[in-house]
Amino acid sequence: MNMGIDFLILMKQEWAVIAILFILLFIKVGSKDRTNENILNLVNVLLLLNLIGGFFGYKDGMLFNEMFKTNHLIVMEKNILSLGTYIIALQSSSWLKNNKHVLEFYLLLLSTLLGMFFMISAGNLLMFFLGLELSSIPLAALSNFDLEKRKSSEAAFKFIISSAFSSGLLLLGISLIYGTTGSLNFSAISEHLHGGPLQIFAFILLISGFAFKISAVPFHLWTADVYEGSPVTVTSYFSVISKGSVLFVFLTVLYTVFKPYGVTWNNILFVLSVLTMIIGNLFAIRQNNLKRFLAFSSVAQIGFILIGITGATQAGSASVVYFVLIYSFSNLGAFGVISLVSALTGKENIEDYKAFYKTNPMLSWVLAVSLFSLAGIPPTAGFFGKFFLLMAGAGHGNYILVTIAALNMVVSLYYYLNIVKAIFMDSNENPIKKLMIPASPKLALIICSTGIVLTGVIGYVYDYIYSMSIGF
């Protein structure tokens, strides 16, 4: 195996993140007189470079005896994650400006990003598991980052316990798969799948591990609590980057490794997606805290994404990746506004947003457009995303599922519109005052809004993603 230049190019994104990690580590260790402002700017620049770098030097290939593999789609997926991280970094500046642990925050954040990269590139269950753990254990620390808040520690505790439990079950599943197939390598596993009950059980355990991370019902229960308790930035990271990365892996694993189980996982996803949509929606209806609300809404979104996965075609995988991109823009748009408001006023409840439009029209529009995109309303990108997801599902003949999903979209519209109603229609004696938006969150919001408006309408984005998606 030629480990020379390939070694650098294939792992370019990982190298970039590691480099940033070390730069930050050196700063942490080395310099004393540093201001948060400078660090934040530096990080933003570094992340931007990381993002830009991701778009150069595409190459497919494998390293370390199939433990690390990469291709155009994976690079694209990593780029989406980098983009999301960059946006989150921009948004978090107003929250982190006065935080003592800025560097630690980014160290933790970027190590989870690195974990996700390895997870996405994993060609073997061990690497997958390690990537998953690397991407989740530091997240627990991150969700405890509002050190003075009780809710934050509670969230962190819930997350680490649930995640450890899920890791335990996942490990049981992996061990059984190892026991029944004799290998941890994806390519070898897929050759040894024979469909015995134990293997299916192991497979279900594995799926439950994924389902936990993407918070599919009934493995989602941690989601709302952790989202609510964590700092807004971390919540958005949870809901977009963490979920997105696991979805990418899930997609790859199902489409390539567990291809022989196509019928089984299709049915499993059917059940999960119906449950996820319905339960997610039912809970989202009655939320008052915006973060908690978005947690459930993101649960419901997962239900739709699962439908896209059931498509089991190139269009299916393309639609999922495409949707994650769109979902990143939309959710980060919403979180961007919420984190800004939360950082500046401490308000996080839907009621506080009544008559928000009167004082903050621009922010209101961004939030509204993001919500419309989440709800799948044209002309926002969310419409296209959902359309293609369900279209992929319908392509597989799952019309019942598609019908349920389509009707669930109506329910979901209800709660999104409820917020829009609060913003535009309700009156409020004590509205949120006019907010001055700092530059970097503003940039983030502009990126998100532009993404929401353009990603869908410009057909090229989808074509591009489709062209490198995996078939079935």
Binding site: L107, S111, G131, K151, P197, L198
Partner: protein
Amino acid sequence: MNASVIIFYILSAFILASALLAVVSGKIFRSAIFLLFTLIGTAALFFWMGVEFIAAVQIIIYVGGIVVLIIFSIFLTQKSGDEMPKPLRNRSLFSVLALIFGFTFTYRLIYEYGFVQTAHKSFNVKVSEIGAQMLSTKEHGFVLPFEVVSILLLASMIGCIVIAMKIKSPERTDIQ
């Protein structure tokens, strides 16, 4: 029935019994001690299976690290003699039912699967080989996971420091 088999049964009984005691014992300190026993028992089981390295790692990390950590944290958060709060009855009931079911179900599947042993092949694990493979980039090399885990350890270290570091201001500014 040879000695090896007997040892296995004794070890199994020891592991399971101490594990059970660890999760039902009313006093937390005892729990911790039984956990220690379980971990040692598992280490012994690894010895029995001939993977000495794992056994050693088990002893060093679990017994020497995690259990000590746990005991320290018990000291930090609790008086040693305290009775722990009793489990909720409903939940215990459901848990027992679920777990008995889960266990029978899982074990039934395993049992029915009937793993075909290829035990006659030699299985010897030299520590040097493990070390070589751990740092090898070639076939059967585990350097990448090794590096990933090291980053994970670094990250969790940072996390621990940030979280557990003493907060200077005694006043908490909770919303609640």
